[in-house]
Protein backbone atom coordinates (compact mmCIF):
# COMPACT_ATOMS: atom_id res chain seq x y z
CA UNK A 1 0.00 0.00 0.00
CA UNK A 2 2.81 2.34 0.99
CA UNK A 3 4.61 1.45 -2.24
CA UNK A 4 1.56 2.32 -4.32
CA UNK A 5 1.13 5.66 -2.53
CA UNK A 6 4.82 6.47 -3.06
CA UNK A 7 4.53 5.48 -6.71
CA UNK A 8 1.42 7.60 -7.22
CA UNK A 9 3.15 10.66 -5.74
CA UNK A 10 6.17 10.29 -8.09
CA UNK A 11 4.29 9.57 -11.34
CA UNK A 12 2.67 12.33 -13.37
CA UNK A 13 -1.11 12.39 -12.83
CA UNK A 14 -1.89 11.30 -16.42
CA UNK A 15 0.48 8.30 -16.30
CA UNK A 16 -0.90 7.24 -12.91
CA UNK A 17 -4.41 7.51 -14.32
CA UNK A 18 -3.51 5.39 -17.35
CA UNK A 19 -1.89 2.78 -15.11
CA UNK A 20 -4.95 2.60 -12.88
CA UNK A 21 -7.15 2.32 -15.95
CA UNK A 22 -5.04 -0.52 -17.33
CA UNK A 23 -5.12 -2.44 -14.03
CA UNK A 24 -8.87 -1.85 -13.70
CA UNK A 25 -9.57 -3.10 -17.24
CA UNK A 26 -7.28 -6.10 -16.68
CA UNK A 27 -9.09 -6.92 -13.45
CA UNK A 28 -12.46 -6.43 -15.15
CA UNK A 29 -11.44 -8.81 -17.93
CA UNK A 30 -10.31 -11.47 -15.45
CA UNK A 31 -13.56 -11.15 -13.49
CA UNK A 32 -15.57 -11.43 -16.71
CA UNK A 33 -13.73 -14.62 -17.72
CA UNK A 34 -14.18 -16.03 -14.21
CA UNK A 35 -17.89 -15.27 -14.40
CA UNK A 36 -18.13 -17.01 -17.80
CA UNK A 37 -16.37 -20.10 -16.46
CA UNK A 38 -18.69 -20.10 -13.44
CA UNK A 39 -21.78 -19.78 -15.66
CA UNK A 40 -20.54 -22.66 -17.82
CA UNK A 41 -20.15 -24.72 -14.65
CA UNK A 42 -23.73 -23.96 -13.66
CA UNK A 43 -24.96 -24.88 -17.16
CA UNK A 44 -22.97 -28.11 -17.04
CA UNK A 45 -24.53 -29.05 -13.69
CA UNK A 46 -28.00 -28.39 -15.13
CA UNK A 47 -27.20 -30.53 -18.16
CA UNK A 48 -25.90 -33.32 -15.90
CA UNK A 49 -29.06 -33.21 -13.80
CA UNK A 50 -31.21 -33.68 -16.91
CA UNK A 51 -29.09 -36.33 -18.61
CA UNK A 52 -30.90 -39.38 -17.31
CA UNK A 53 -32.18 -41.82 -19.95
CA UNK A 54 -35.76 -41.11 -18.85
CA UNK A 55 -35.42 -37.36 -19.46
CA UNK A 56 -33.36 -37.49 -22.64
CA UNK A 57 -35.41 -36.51 -25.68
CA UNK A 58 -34.16 -39.17 -28.09
CA UNK A 59 -36.04 -37.83 -31.09
CA UNK A 60 -34.41 -34.43 -30.70
CA UNK A 61 -31.03 -36.10 -30.16
CA UNK A 62 -31.30 -38.06 -33.42
CA UNK A 63 -32.67 -35.03 -35.28
CA UNK A 64 -29.74 -32.87 -34.21
CA UNK A 65 -27.21 -35.61 -34.95
CA UNK A 66 -28.58 -36.07 -38.47
CA UNK A 67 -28.52 -32.33 -39.04
CA UNK A 68 -25.06 -31.75 -37.57
CA UNK A 69 -23.40 -34.74 -39.23
CA UNK A 70 -24.90 -34.31 -42.70
CA UNK A 71 -24.16 -30.59 -42.60
CA UNK A 72 -20.53 -31.31 -41.70
CA UNK A 73 -19.76 -34.18 -44.09
CA UNK A 74 -18.62 -32.14 -47.12
CA UNK A 75 -16.37 -29.68 -45.31
CA UNK A 76 -14.84 -32.34 -43.05
CA UNK A 77 -14.32 -34.67 -46.01
CA UNK A 78 -12.64 -32.10 -48.24
CA UNK A 79 -10.48 -30.79 -45.38
CA UNK A 80 -9.39 -34.30 -44.42
CA UNK A 81 -8.48 -35.32 -47.98
CA UNK A 82 -6.32 -32.23 -48.47
CA UNK A 83 -4.79 -32.50 -44.99
CA UNK A 84 -3.64 -36.06 -45.65
CA UNK A 85 -2.16 -34.96 -48.97
CA UNK A 86 -0.41 -31.96 -47.38
CA UNK A 87 1.27 -34.23 -44.82
CA UNK A 88 2.78 -36.20 -47.70
CA UNK A 89 3.78 -33.06 -49.65
CA UNK A 90 5.65 -31.74 -46.62
CA UNK A 91 7.28 -35.08 -45.80
CA UNK A 92 8.10 -36.21 -49.34
CA UNK A 93 11.44 -34.33 -49.90
CA UNK A 94 12.93 -35.59 -46.63
CA UNK A 95 11.58 -39.11 -47.06
CA UNK A 96 12.95 -39.34 -50.60
CA UNK A 97 16.35 -37.98 -49.52
CA UNK A 98 16.71 -40.79 -46.98
CA UNK A 99 14.96 -43.40 -49.09
CA UNK A 100 12.45 -44.00 -46.31
CA UNK A 101 9.28 -44.10 -48.42
CA UNK A 102 8.16 -47.15 -46.51
CA UNK A 103 7.72 -45.02 -43.40
CA UNK A 104 5.20 -42.69 -45.06
CA UNK A 105 2.24 -44.86 -44.11
CA UNK A 106 3.31 -44.92 -40.49
CA UNK A 107 4.15 -41.20 -40.39
CA UNK A 108 0.89 -40.10 -41.97
CA UNK A 109 -1.14 -42.53 -39.82
CA UNK A 110 0.56 -41.52 -36.59
CA UNK A 111 0.13 -37.80 -37.20
CA UNK A 112 -3.42 -38.03 -38.50
CA UNK A 113 -4.81 -40.43 -35.90
CA UNK A 114 -3.26 -38.86 -32.81
CA UNK A 115 -3.30 -35.18 -33.66
CA UNK A 116 -4.29 -33.78 -37.02
CA UNK A 117 -7.56 -35.66 -37.45
CA UNK A 118 -9.13 -34.78 -34.08
CA UNK A 119 -7.77 -31.24 -34.02
CA UNK A 120 -8.78 -30.16 -37.51
CA UNK A 121 -12.15 -31.88 -37.28
CA UNK A 122 -12.84 -30.13 -33.97
CA UNK A 123 -11.97 -26.76 -35.48
CA UNK A 124 -14.17 -27.46 -38.50
CA UNK A 125 -17.09 -28.60 -36.33
CA UNK A 126 -16.60 -25.63 -34.03
CA UNK A 127 -16.78 -23.20 -36.94
CA UNK A 128 -19.60 -24.96 -38.74
CA UNK A 129 -21.82 -26.66 -36.16
CA UNK A 130 -20.84 -24.87 -32.95
CA UNK A 131 -21.28 -21.43 -34.47
CA UNK A 132 -24.60 -22.48 -35.97
CA UNK A 133 -25.72 -23.86 -32.62
CA UNK A 134 -24.86 -20.60 -30.86
CA UNK A 135 -26.62 -18.53 -33.52
CA UNK A 136 -29.69 -20.77 -33.36
CA UNK A 137 -29.94 -20.63 -29.57
CA UNK A 138 -29.08 -16.92 -29.47
CA UNK A 139 -31.83 -16.14 -31.97
CA UNK A 140 -34.28 -18.19 -29.92
CA UNK A 141 -33.32 -16.21 -26.81
CA UNK A 142 -33.62 -12.74 -28.35
CA UNK A 143 -36.91 -13.58 -30.09
CA UNK A 144 -38.33 -14.91 -26.77
CA UNK A 145 -38.70 -18.46 -28.14
CA UNK A 146 -36.87 -19.77 -25.07
CA UNK A 147 -39.26 -17.86 -22.81
CA UNK A 148 -42.04 -19.27 -24.99
CA UNK A 149 -40.86 -22.79 -24.13
CA UNK A 150 -40.72 -21.92 -20.43
CA UNK A 151 -44.23 -20.48 -20.63
CA UNK A 152 -45.37 -23.82 -22.10
CA UNK A 153 -43.91 -25.54 -19.00
CA UNK A 154 -41.20 -27.12 -21.16
CA UNK A 155 -37.74 -27.07 -19.61
CA UNK A 156 -35.42 -25.38 -22.17
CA UNK A 157 -32.32 -27.13 -20.80
CA UNK A 158 -33.89 -30.58 -21.14
CA UNK A 159 -35.55 -29.90 -24.49
CA UNK A 160 -33.09 -27.58 -26.25
CA UNK A 161 -29.69 -28.02 -24.66
CA UNK A 162 -29.22 -31.63 -23.58
CA UNK A 163 -29.94 -33.18 -27.03
CA UNK A 164 -27.68 -30.63 -28.76
CA UNK A 165 -24.94 -31.18 -26.17
CA UNK A 166 -24.77 -34.95 -26.67
CA UNK A 167 -25.44 -34.75 -30.41
CA UNK A 168 -22.47 -32.42 -30.83
CA UNK A 169 -20.12 -34.67 -28.84
CA UNK A 170 -21.24 -37.77 -30.75
CA UNK A 171 -21.07 -35.96 -34.10
CA UNK A 172 -17.53 -34.77 -33.46
CA UNK A 173 -16.38 -38.28 -32.50
CA UNK A 174 -18.00 -39.80 -35.62
CA UNK A 175 -16.69 -37.05 -37.86
CA UNK A 176 -13.19 -37.61 -36.47
CA UNK A 177 -13.33 -41.28 -37.54
CA UNK A 178 -14.60 -40.19 -40.96
CA UNK A 179 -11.91 -37.54 -41.18
CA UNK A 180 -9.15 -39.98 -40.15
CA UNK A 181 -10.15 -42.41 -42.90
CA UNK A 182 -10.33 -39.73 -45.60
CA UNK A 183 -7.06 -38.12 -44.49
CA UNK A 184 -5.32 -41.48 -44.84
CA UNK A 185 -6.89 -41.95 -48.27
CA UNK A 186 -5.66 -38.47 -49.23
CA UNK A 187 -2.20 -39.29 -47.92
CA UNK A 188 -2.08 -42.61 -49.79
CA UNK A 189 -3.17 -40.95 -53.06
CA UNK A 190 -0.63 -38.16 -52.67
CA UNK A 191 2.05 -40.73 -51.83
CA UNK A 192 1.36 -42.58 -55.08
CA UNK A 193 1.31 -39.45 -57.21
CA UNK A 194 4.19 -37.50 -55.62
CA UNK A 195 6.54 -40.14 -54.26
CA UNK A 196 5.58 -43.12 -56.37
CA UNK A 197 4.69 -45.13 -53.26
CA UNK A 198 2.04 -47.71 -54.12
CA UNK A 199 -1.17 -48.01 -52.13
CA UNK A 200 0.04 -51.41 -51.01
CA UNK A 201 3.34 -49.93 -49.81
CA UNK A 202 1.49 -47.18 -47.93
CA UNK A 203 -0.77 -49.78 -46.33
CA UNK A 204 2.21 -51.91 -45.31
CA UNK A 205 3.84 -48.92 -43.66
CA UNK A 206 0.61 -48.06 -41.89
CA UNK A 207 0.14 -51.60 -40.56
CA UNK A 208 3.81 -52.30 -39.83
CA UNK A 209 3.10 -52.55 -36.10
CA UNK A 210 4.38 -49.09 -35.22
CA UNK A 211 0.81 -47.80 -34.94
CA UNK A 212 -1.10 -49.31 -32.05
CA UNK A 213 -4.69 -49.24 -30.90
CA UNK A 214 -3.74 -46.69 -28.23
CA UNK A 215 -2.93 -44.21 -31.03
CA UNK A 216 -6.45 -44.56 -32.37
CA UNK A 217 -7.89 -44.32 -28.84
CA UNK A 218 -5.72 -41.24 -28.14
CA UNK A 219 -7.32 -39.42 -31.04
CA UNK A 220 -10.84 -40.52 -30.18
CA UNK A 221 -10.49 -39.50 -26.53
CA UNK A 222 -9.35 -36.10 -27.72
CA UNK A 223 -12.29 -35.84 -30.10
CA UNK A 224 -14.76 -36.52 -27.29
CA UNK A 225 -13.04 -33.93 -25.09
CA UNK A 226 -13.06 -31.38 -27.92
CA UNK A 227 -16.74 -32.15 -28.54
CA UNK A 228 -17.43 -31.44 -24.89
CA UNK A 229 -15.69 -28.04 -25.15
CA UNK A 230 -17.48 -27.05 -28.37
CA UNK A 231 -20.87 -28.22 -27.08
CA UNK A 232 -20.59 -26.47 -23.73
CA UNK A 233 -19.19 -23.28 -25.21
CA UNK A 234 -21.73 -23.02 -28.05
CA UNK A 235 -24.69 -23.74 -25.77
CA UNK A 236 -23.51 -21.34 -23.07
CA UNK A 237 -22.89 -18.39 -25.37
CA UNK A 238 -26.15 -19.06 -27.20
CA UNK A 239 -28.20 -18.99 -24.02
CA UNK A 240 -26.30 -15.96 -22.68
CA UNK A 241 -27.17 -13.85 -25.74
CA UNK A 242 -28.51 -10.36 -25.08
CA UNK A 243 -29.00 -7.32 -27.26
CA UNK A 244 -30.91 -8.48 -30.33
CA UNK A 245 -29.31 -9.39 -33.66
CA UNK A 246 -25.94 -7.72 -32.89
CA UNK A 247 -25.90 -9.73 -29.67
CA UNK A 248 -26.25 -12.97 -31.67
CA UNK A 249 -23.19 -11.98 -33.72
CA UNK A 250 -21.21 -11.24 -30.56
CA UNK A 251 -22.22 -14.58 -29.06
CA UNK A 252 -21.15 -16.50 -32.15
CA UNK A 253 -17.76 -14.78 -32.14
CA UNK A 254 -17.26 -15.44 -28.42
CA UNK A 255 -18.30 -19.06 -28.84
CA UNK A 256 -15.89 -19.73 -31.71
CA UNK A 257 -12.99 -18.00 -29.92
CA UNK A 258 -13.67 -19.85 -26.65
CA UNK A 259 -14.02 -23.19 -28.46
CA UNK A 260 -10.78 -22.76 -30.42
CA UNK A 261 -8.85 -21.63 -27.35
CA UNK A 262 -10.30 -24.47 -25.29
CA UNK A 263 -9.52 -27.03 -28.00
CA UNK A 264 -5.85 -26.04 -28.24
CA UNK A 265 -5.38 -25.77 -24.47
CA UNK A 266 -7.05 -29.12 -23.89
CA UNK A 267 -5.05 -30.69 -26.71
CA UNK A 268 -1.83 -29.57 -25.03
CA UNK A 269 -2.78 -31.14 -21.68
CA UNK A 270 -4.31 -34.30 -23.12
CA UNK A 271 -1.17 -34.91 -25.19
CA UNK A 272 0.67 -35.27 -21.87
CA UNK A 273 -1.99 -37.13 -19.94
CA UNK A 274 -3.41 -39.61 -22.46
CA UNK A 275 -0.90 -42.34 -23.46
Amino acid sequence: MGFLMALSSRLPYRVWGDLRGFVASLGGGVLLQAATVGQMGVLLSRIAARSTPARLDRRELVRHMEFMAIESLPIVGVTALFTGAIVIIQAAPVVQRFGAEGLLGWGAGFGVLREIGPLLTALMISGRVGANNTADLGTMVVTEQVDGLRALAIDPIAYLIVPRFFALIATLALMTIFSDVLALVGAALAGEVLVGLTMHGFYNGFTSGLIEFKDVAHGLIKSVAFGFIVALSSCHFGLATTGGAPGVGRSVKASVVASATGIFALDYFLSFVVP
Binding site: T139, E144, Q145, G148, R150, A153, D155
Partner: protein, 263 residues
Protein backbone atom coordinates in the same frame (compact mmCIF):
# COMPACT_ATOMS: atom_id res chain seq x y z
CA UNK B 1 -46.52 -21.93 0.00
CA UNK B 2 -48.98 -19.25 1.16
CA UNK B 3 -52.70 -19.69 0.60
CA UNK B 4 -54.95 -16.65 0.30
CA UNK B 5 -58.70 -16.69 0.71
CA UNK B 6 -60.48 -15.89 -2.53
CA UNK B 7 -62.32 -12.64 -2.21
CA UNK B 8 -65.84 -12.83 -3.52
CA UNK B 9 -67.83 -9.83 -4.53
CA UNK B 10 -71.56 -10.43 -5.04
CA UNK B 11 -72.23 -10.49 -8.76
CA UNK B 12 -68.61 -9.87 -9.62
CA UNK B 13 -67.10 -13.36 -9.48
CA UNK B 14 -64.05 -14.87 -7.77
CA UNK B 15 -60.57 -13.45 -7.86
CA UNK B 16 -58.24 -15.83 -9.72
CA UNK B 17 -55.17 -13.58 -10.05
CA UNK B 18 -53.91 -10.98 -7.62
CA UNK B 19 -50.91 -8.71 -7.98
CA UNK B 20 -50.15 -7.34 -4.52
CA UNK B 21 -47.76 -4.38 -4.11
CA UNK B 22 -45.39 -5.57 -6.84
CA UNK B 23 -42.07 -3.77 -7.10
CA UNK B 24 -39.65 -4.44 -9.94
CA UNK B 25 -36.48 -2.62 -11.01
CA UNK B 26 -34.00 -3.26 -13.80
CA UNK B 27 -30.68 -1.83 -12.68
CA UNK B 28 -31.40 1.55 -11.18
CA UNK B 29 -34.62 2.01 -13.17
CA UNK B 30 -37.75 1.24 -11.18
CA UNK B 31 -40.53 0.01 -13.46
CA UNK B 32 -43.16 -1.16 -11.01
CA UNK B 33 -43.45 0.53 -7.64
CA UNK B 34 -46.27 -1.08 -5.71
CA UNK B 35 -48.67 -2.33 -8.36
CA UNK B 36 -51.79 -4.02 -6.98
CA UNK B 37 -54.92 -5.25 -8.75
CA UNK B 38 -57.17 -8.31 -8.95
CA UNK B 39 -58.44 -10.24 -11.95
CA UNK B 40 -61.68 -12.21 -11.68
CA UNK B 41 -62.43 -15.63 -13.10
CA UNK B 42 -63.71 -15.63 -16.67
CA UNK B 43 -63.31 -11.94 -17.41
CA UNK B 44 -61.45 -10.23 -20.21
CA UNK B 45 -59.15 -7.93 -18.29
CA UNK B 46 -57.02 -5.31 -20.03
CA UNK B 47 -53.76 -3.87 -18.70
CA UNK B 48 -53.19 -0.54 -20.41
CA UNK B 49 -50.73 2.31 -20.20
CA UNK B 50 -48.06 4.11 -22.15
CA UNK B 51 -45.03 2.42 -23.68
CA UNK B 52 -42.45 1.29 -21.13
CA UNK B 53 -44.80 1.60 -18.18
CA UNK B 54 -44.37 -2.07 -17.24
CA UNK B 55 -47.49 -3.77 -18.63
CA UNK B 56 -45.65 -6.78 -20.08
CA UNK B 57 -43.33 -6.85 -17.08
CA UNK B 58 -46.35 -7.13 -14.80
CA UNK B 59 -47.98 -10.11 -16.52
CA UNK B 60 -44.69 -11.99 -16.92
CA UNK B 61 -44.59 -12.22 -13.10
CA UNK B 62 -47.63 -14.50 -13.19
CA UNK B 63 -45.82 -17.24 -15.14
CA UNK B 64 -42.46 -16.77 -13.44
CA UNK B 65 -40.65 -15.30 -16.44
CA UNK B 66 -39.82 -12.42 -14.09
CA UNK B 67 -39.66 -12.38 -10.30
CA UNK B 68 -40.73 -9.36 -8.23
CA UNK B 69 -38.21 -7.52 -6.06
CA UNK B 70 -41.01 -7.17 -3.53
CA UNK B 71 -44.71 -7.98 -3.31
CA UNK B 72 -46.75 -11.10 -3.97
CA UNK B 73 -48.38 -12.66 -7.00
CA UNK B 74 -51.35 -14.90 -6.30
CA UNK B 75 -52.88 -17.44 -8.64
CA UNK B 76 -56.02 -19.29 -7.59
CA UNK B 77 -55.28 -18.69 -3.92
CA UNK B 78 -51.60 -19.65 -4.03
CA UNK B 79 -48.68 -17.23 -3.76
CA UNK B 80 -46.49 -18.12 -6.76
CA UNK B 81 -43.77 -15.50 -7.01
CA UNK B 82 -41.28 -17.44 -4.89
CA UNK B 83 -41.75 -20.81 -6.56
CA UNK B 84 -38.71 -22.41 -8.14
CA UNK B 85 -38.53 -22.83 -11.93
CA UNK B 86 -39.66 -26.47 -11.64
CA UNK B 87 -42.42 -25.61 -9.16
CA UNK B 88 -43.73 -23.11 -11.70
CA UNK B 89 -44.45 -25.79 -14.31
CA UNK B 90 -47.88 -26.73 -12.89
CA UNK B 91 -48.82 -23.03 -12.84
CA UNK B 92 -47.71 -22.62 -16.46
CA UNK B 93 -49.91 -25.52 -17.50
CA UNK B 94 -52.90 -23.57 -16.12
CA UNK B 95 -51.76 -20.10 -17.25
CA UNK B 96 -50.79 -19.87 -20.92
CA UNK B 97 -49.09 -16.90 -22.52
CA UNK B 98 -49.27 -15.51 -26.04
CA UNK B 99 -46.23 -13.30 -26.60
CA UNK B 100 -46.12 -10.04 -28.51
CA UNK B 101 -44.12 -11.62 -31.36
CA UNK B 102 -45.91 -14.99 -31.18
CA UNK B 103 -42.62 -16.84 -30.42
CA UNK B 104 -43.46 -19.80 -32.62
CA UNK B 105 -40.52 -22.12 -33.14
CA UNK B 106 -39.00 -21.35 -36.53
CA UNK B 107 -37.79 -24.89 -37.14
CA UNK B 108 -41.29 -26.40 -36.83
CA UNK B 109 -44.38 -25.98 -38.97
CA UNK B 110 -47.62 -24.74 -37.43
CA UNK B 111 -48.94 -28.21 -36.62
CA UNK B 112 -45.67 -29.25 -34.97
CA UNK B 113 -45.61 -26.02 -32.95
CA UNK B 114 -49.03 -26.79 -31.56
CA UNK B 115 -48.36 -30.52 -31.13
CA UNK B 116 -45.23 -29.98 -29.00
CA UNK B 117 -46.93 -29.22 -25.66
CA UNK B 118 -49.52 -31.94 -26.38
CA UNK B 119 -46.75 -34.54 -26.68
CA UNK B 120 -44.82 -33.21 -23.71
CA UNK B 121 -47.65 -32.74 -21.24
CA UNK B 122 -50.65 -34.76 -22.33
CA UNK B 123 -48.65 -37.83 -23.27
CA UNK B 124 -50.14 -38.01 -26.75
CA UNK B 125 -48.36 -39.94 -29.47
CA UNK B 126 -46.97 -37.91 -32.35
CA UNK B 127 -49.91 -38.84 -34.60
CA UNK B 128 -52.58 -38.11 -31.99
CA UNK B 129 -50.91 -34.81 -31.10
CA UNK B 130 -50.93 -33.73 -34.75
CA UNK B 131 -54.63 -34.60 -35.08
CA UNK B 132 -55.43 -32.54 -31.99
CA UNK B 133 -53.20 -29.74 -33.28
CA UNK B 134 -55.19 -29.68 -36.52
CA UNK B 135 -58.43 -29.38 -34.52
CA UNK B 136 -57.03 -26.44 -32.57
CA UNK B 137 -55.77 -24.81 -35.75
CA UNK B 138 -59.27 -25.03 -37.19
CA UNK B 139 -60.61 -23.40 -34.04
CA UNK B 140 -58.58 -20.29 -34.87
CA UNK B 141 -59.71 -20.51 -38.53
CA UNK B 142 -56.30 -21.54 -39.88
CA UNK B 143 -57.01 -25.17 -40.69
CA UNK B 144 -55.40 -24.94 -44.15
CA UNK B 145 -52.09 -23.61 -42.87
CA UNK B 146 -50.84 -26.52 -40.76
CA UNK B 147 -47.90 -27.37 -43.01
CA UNK B 148 -46.70 -23.78 -43.25
CA UNK B 149 -43.68 -22.61 -41.29
CA UNK B 150 -43.92 -19.44 -39.15
CA UNK B 151 -41.74 -17.52 -41.60
CA UNK B 152 -44.37 -18.12 -44.29
CA UNK B 153 -47.20 -16.55 -42.28
CA UNK B 154 -48.29 -12.97 -41.69
CA UNK B 155 -48.19 -11.47 -38.19
CA UNK B 156 -51.91 -11.93 -37.61
CA UNK B 157 -51.79 -15.59 -38.60
CA UNK B 158 -48.77 -16.18 -36.39
CA UNK B 159 -50.62 -14.73 -33.44
CA UNK B 160 -53.62 -16.97 -34.08
CA UNK B 161 -51.33 -20.01 -34.28
CA UNK B 162 -49.79 -18.90 -30.99
CA UNK B 163 -53.29 -18.68 -29.51
CA UNK B 164 -54.02 -22.21 -30.76
CA UNK B 165 -50.81 -23.39 -29.10
CA UNK B 166 -51.79 -21.62 -25.89
CA UNK B 167 -55.08 -23.55 -25.89
CA UNK B 168 -53.39 -26.98 -25.99
CA UNK B 169 -53.39 -27.51 -22.24
CA UNK B 170 -56.90 -26.12 -21.64
CA UNK B 171 -55.60 -23.21 -19.56
CA UNK B 172 -57.77 -21.35 -17.10
CA UNK B 173 -55.97 -18.06 -17.79
CA UNK B 174 -54.35 -16.80 -20.98
CA UNK B 175 -52.02 -13.83 -20.97
CA UNK B 176 -51.98 -11.87 -24.21
CA UNK B 177 -49.03 -9.52 -24.66
CA UNK B 178 -50.07 -6.85 -27.17
CA UNK B 179 -52.01 -9.29 -29.35
CA UNK B 180 -53.11 -6.71 -31.92
CA UNK B 181 -49.92 -4.66 -32.17
CA UNK B 182 -48.58 -4.51 -35.75
CA UNK B 183 -51.73 -6.12 -37.17
CA UNK B 184 -53.95 -4.62 -39.83
CA UNK B 185 -57.39 -3.58 -38.51
CA UNK B 186 -59.18 -6.67 -39.88
CA UNK B 187 -56.66 -9.10 -38.40
CA UNK B 188 -56.73 -7.15 -35.13
CA UNK B 189 -60.52 -7.44 -34.85
CA UNK B 190 -60.32 -11.18 -35.64
CA UNK B 191 -57.92 -11.61 -32.74
CA UNK B 192 -60.24 -9.54 -30.52
CA UNK B 193 -63.18 -11.73 -31.49
CA UNK B 194 -61.17 -14.84 -30.72
CA UNK B 195 -60.22 -13.57 -27.25
CA UNK B 196 -63.83 -12.69 -26.51
CA UNK B 197 -65.02 -16.11 -27.76
CA UNK B 198 -62.55 -17.93 -25.54
CA UNK B 199 -63.88 -16.13 -22.52
CA UNK B 200 -67.54 -16.51 -23.45
CA UNK B 201 -67.48 -20.12 -24.64
CA UNK B 202 -64.72 -21.74 -22.58
CA UNK B 203 -64.75 -19.50 -19.52
CA UNK B 204 -61.08 -18.69 -20.01
CA UNK B 205 -59.81 -15.66 -18.10
CA UNK B 206 -57.97 -13.36 -20.51
CA UNK B 207 -55.44 -10.81 -19.29
CA UNK B 208 -54.60 -8.61 -22.23
CA UNK B 209 -51.76 -6.11 -22.39
CA UNK B 210 -52.64 -3.52 -24.98
CA UNK B 211 -52.81 0.11 -25.96
CA UNK B 212 -55.16 -0.58 -28.85
CA UNK B 213 -58.14 1.58 -27.93
CA UNK B 214 -60.49 -0.24 -30.32
CA UNK B 215 -59.70 -3.54 -28.63
CA UNK B 216 -59.94 -2.06 -25.16
CA UNK B 217 -63.36 -0.50 -25.68
CA UNK B 218 -64.52 -3.38 -27.86
CA UNK B 219 -64.02 -6.44 -25.68
CA UNK B 220 -62.75 -5.51 -22.18
CA UNK B 221 -64.81 -6.42 -19.13
CA UNK B 222 -62.51 -4.48 -16.87
CA UNK B 223 -59.38 -2.40 -17.32
CA UNK B 224 -56.42 -1.34 -15.20
CA UNK B 225 -54.25 1.57 -16.25
CA UNK B 226 -50.63 1.63 -15.11
CA UNK B 227 -48.87 4.94 -14.87
CA UNK B 228 -45.52 5.97 -13.35
CA UNK B 229 -44.94 2.63 -11.63
CA UNK B 230 -48.37 2.31 -10.05
CA UNK B 231 -52.05 1.78 -10.76
CA UNK B 232 -53.76 4.92 -11.99
CA UNK B 233 -57.27 3.55 -12.46
CA UNK B 234 -59.23 0.29 -12.38
CA UNK B 235 -62.75 -0.21 -13.61
CA UNK B 236 -65.04 -1.22 -16.44
CA UNK B 237 -65.28 0.45 -19.84
CA UNK B 238 -67.90 2.90 -18.67
CA UNK B 239 -65.69 3.97 -15.79
CA UNK B 240 -62.85 4.75 -18.20
CA UNK B 241 -65.14 6.58 -20.61
CA UNK B 242 -66.60 8.77 -17.92
CA UNK B 243 -63.55 9.32 -15.72
CA UNK B 244 -62.61 12.84 -14.64
CA UNK B 245 -58.94 11.85 -14.25
CA UNK B 246 -57.13 14.00 -16.83
CA UNK B 247 -54.27 11.50 -17.29
CA UNK B 248 -56.68 8.64 -18.00
CA UNK B 249 -58.80 10.86 -20.25
CA UNK B 250 -55.74 11.83 -22.26
CA UNK B 251 -54.70 8.20 -22.72
CA UNK B 252 -58.08 6.75 -23.64
CA UNK B 253 -58.82 9.76 -25.81
CA UNK B 254 -55.49 9.40 -27.60
CA UNK B 255 -54.68 13.10 -27.19
CA UNK B 256 -51.15 14.32 -27.87
CA UNK B 257 -51.47 17.17 -25.38
CA UNK B 258 -52.23 16.71 -21.72
CA UNK B 259 -50.73 15.99 -18.34
CA UNK B 260 -49.32 12.52 -19.15
CA UNK B 261 -45.61 12.16 -18.58
CA UNK B 262 -43.61 9.74 -20.71
CA UNK B 263 -40.38 7.85 -20.10
Amino acid sequence: MMIAPLSKHPGEGDVIVRFDRIRKSFGDKTILDGVSFDVRKGEVFFVIGGSGVGKSVTIKHLVGLLRPDAGDVWFDGVEVSRLTEEEFFPVRKRVAMVFQYATLFDSMNCLENIALPLEKHRGLSRGAALVEAQRLLERVHLGRYGERFPGELGDGMKKRVAIARALTLNPEVILFDEPTTSLDPVSARRVDTLIRELSDTLGVTAIVVSHDLTSIFGIADRIVMLYRGGVRAVGDRAHFRETKDEVVRQFVGGFADGPMEFG
